[in-house]
Symmetry: C2
Subunit: 503 residues, 2 copies
């Protein structure tokens, strides 16, 4: 089956030279990845870091073509796509630094010694790669969460082969991205089979079911996430599933914040809701504004009414936006202050602003609408907010806009939000996720599977497993666990030690 | 429904005063645990460490009664049970040390600063408790993997409430253990509801389904593990499942090792296979002996024939041992060198030694027989071993007995085993798992879910999740993430720093 590529700015689909991957091809790609795993594991960390840096170089060298192709397949603006490509390259280099540093290995040495239970053997532990990783790119980040995205970077940094499932909304971007990956792999001397790509929904399912695939990274809908989990549960050996599935990202503005900086907040919020046409996993989808915060709401309404239509990523997302907006009003009881309007061409739409009273908020009013839509919830007291939050699904982020003298009163709210999300933002906006060591992009279900991040350096941990050597001859130990090694941080006999220069 | 307690040494069941927990009671216990979670999270780490140490003290103070009750419910010998109780107490104290040290928090501070993508906000991350944990104790470790076991210690150390599901084979031990936990909690000023216990299979299922339960730790059969996963997948919010389910633990003896220390190996292996009546998750269940290693096999056979019957933990395990032994012979094609025999009283049995040729090894010959049974696999070359390993399920451990001059030749075998297990043991035995920082007790499915250990300090990580604060006012940050704090190891702006004395 030949694949098509659709320009969401026009809605015109064009044939490509790409074909859906057959089950037999998936098998051969996954098998090749498994064969490459051993050789990749034996590459020194420095060689793997060099591979990651080479990838960053390759994608920057092909920047113009990649951005142009992605713009035609996603409708995202070129400045945004350029920034995203920069982020992807930065991410590969940051992860290369982490591989060089070696702290991610969590190396531990317990020398043989007496314990209350008798003599204890020598035990040495570190994290090792788990095997070929299936990576499902998302529609909304054709670079940073797709073929060149954080899951690919994490899996390779950890030392695993990667097989990506190209997103059906940007097949040509995926193919061009994959070519950059492959060029880097060749240049860096990575083993054959360490990178693979498959196309088509059936190929994705076959990949998740493949016995040699060791884990799945997925960014997409809750519905598809559930289907992939079902495939995993029907495997003989269930494997880890890292899904980033859905997030409402509640944002609360206190009365003091409205008074002190209402206009700024209206502008910042509108930008956060409508940036990239609202198609960000951290878009604040439900925003709590006090009853006497009309000035803020009026300004958001004004901005929304004035806004031009923007293209959404594909026809499905475009149709869903209007379907969900309708459901939020009809079943959810929200009132459309500004309804979304279909634009003149392709899959374009204007922003929507809905309003509902905190006391009326139910789960029917908090379905995620992926696109430039925000539900404004009006409240009288912070206790009303607390009560209404039970209708909001757990999320990646929550945001509080509050003045310093309100922090004590907001304490219970902050505590409550902490249980519901993975990142708490103060007096800012959750979109624009910083890629750094401390970032956490994850939250209780349905945001993710709670335990790990998909952005930031610690995302590497998802694709590693601990391994212990007991009384192993030194020659069989990895270099990082030999006694004389001091070049990586380690915990030795219970005491954490920094790396020192030298071996 | 009133529960009974059965003495496996006699097979006699006696009524207890314990009742199966109703669904309504499970709901109230889980809800109380969720309410306690907030208060527990606010306890300073030092107070939580004190709670863990107090638990160790309480269980040691009640040692004699606990051991006597457990002996009558499990048939395990008192020296073994005393050692196990010592291990449980040690574990609580070791985890208290880890809580005090604070490295497990993985604290990270990224100060605000410029990035290639523009200005980056201040991001601070550390691990936080995930919420109430359901702990399913195992039959074979009434202390170290049950109410007082590693899952309870890990979950509490992480700062989570715990609800244990008492094992039906040792309800009185569970109740007495729980009383020690509760006494410690009261003495340490822990919040009400932080500890709960439920009895009965239905209560266990209700616990796993309960919306306020945040994760499940389970040690038991593959069959029950699959049932619990099904319950989890049918939840509105699937939660992490940490199952330790089944393990064959292949052990390979090279020709050189047979020549150099055949008699020692026979004795050590027999002890490892039959200790605790072979009811250890790390028991070597399949052992590769070279064709010309008759001396080793003959000695194991002699020891097995001479061995007295030992009680197994319960009637189910006793019946399974004989059923599986029969299947290994009839469907698996193994030959019984020494068949198991039923003892004179209760659920007792003598050891079994089966033999099969490496070329004949199929999955039908590698079902785990929980009890004193070993399958000896005879081989001609290490390549035969490599080929035969495909019939062995992935395991917690693998063991190699080899002479120093054989290590080069054994390289491919060691590589292959590394992919299949979580711990590799050299010239020793996998049973007797050291509790330490570096221990890893986990392996690819069906051993565990691969990514985490259930023994050793890093087991705490299973019950934590990352959390990030963005631009948070200092007063709202946990003490461990404030700039002035130096008492825990942290990564600051990418650089790992050790703790220093003081704040």
């Amino acid at each position: 089956m030949t694949l098509t590529s659709t320009d969401p700015r026009t809605g015109v689909a064009s044939p490509t030279a790409l074909e859906a991957t057959s089950d037999a091809q998936v098998d051969s790609i996954a098998t090749a990845a498994a064969s490459a795993a051993d050789e990749l594991r034996r590459m020194p960390r420095a060689a793997r870091a060099a591979l990651l840096r080479r990838i960053a170089d390759e994608i920057e060298a092909d920047r113009d073509a990649l951005v142009a192709i992605a713009a035609a397949e996603t409708g995202l603006a070129e400045p945004r796509l350029n920034g995203e490509l920069t982020r992807s390259a930065f991410q590969f280099r940051l992860f290369a630094d982490a591989v060089d540093e070696g702290g991610y290995l969590e190396a531990v040495i317990d020398h043989a010694g007496d314990t209350p239970m008798g003599p204890g053997p020598d035990i040495r532990r570190m994290l090792v790669p788990i095997g070929p990783i299936a990576v499902f790119g998302s529609s909304n980040f054709p670079f940073a969460f797709s073929v060149l995205g954080g899951d690919t970077a994490s899996a390779l940094a950890a030392g695993n082969p990667v097989v990506v499932k190209a997103h059906s909304s940007h097949p040509l971007t995926s193919a061009r991205s994959f070519a950059a990956l492959e060029a880097a792999a060749r240049a860096a001397g990575a083993p054959d089979g360490v990178l693979g790509i498959v196309y088509g929904q059936q190929a994705g399912a076959a990949l998740v079911a493949h016995p040699r695939v060791a884990a799945v990274g997925f960014t997409g809908s809750l519905h598809t996430g559930r289907i992939l989990r079902e495939i995993i549960e029907s495997r003989e050996n269930p494997i880890p599933f890292y899904g980033e599935l859905s997030s409402l990202n509640p944002l609360i503005v206190t009365p003091g914040a409205v008074t002190a900086r209402g206009a700024d907040i209206a502008a910042g919020l509108f930008a956060s809701v409508t940036g990239s046409a609202g198609q960000l996993c951290t878009k604040p989808g439900v925003v709590f504004i006090p009853r006497d915060g009309d000035a803020v709401v009026d300004e958001i309404v004004r901005l929304a009414k004035d806004a031009a239509a923007q293209p959404l990523l594909n026809g499905g997302i475009h149709a869903s936006l209007f379907r969900i907006e309708h459901a939020l009003v009809s079943a959810g009881g929200a009132h459309a202050l500004v309804p979304a309007r279909v634009g003149d061409t392709g899959f374009t739409a204007t922003p929507a602003v809905l309003e509902i009273d905190a006391a009326q908020l139910t789960p029917a009013a908090t379905e995620e609408a992926f696109g430039p839509l925000v539900v404004v919830v009006r409240y009288d007291t912070l206790d009303d907010v607390l009560a209404a939050l039970d209708a909001v699904p757990d999320s990646l982020t929550a945001t509080v806009h509050a003045q310093p003298d309100e922090l004590d009163a907001a304490g219970p709210l902050v505590d409550d939000l902490s249980r519901r999300v993975g990142r708490l933002v103060f007096n800012g906006y959750p979109t624009g996720v910083r890629v750094s060591w401390g970032q956490h992009h994850g939250g209780p279900w349905p945001a993710t599977n709670t335990l790990h991040t998909s952005v930031g350096v610690t995302a590497i941990r998802r694709f590693l497993r601990p391994f212990a050597w007991q009384d192993a001859p030194e020659a069989l130990l990895p270099i990082e666990l030999r006694d004389a090694t001091t070049s990586v941080p380690r915990r030795v006999d219970g005491i954490l030690r920094l790396a020192t220069l030298g071996a």
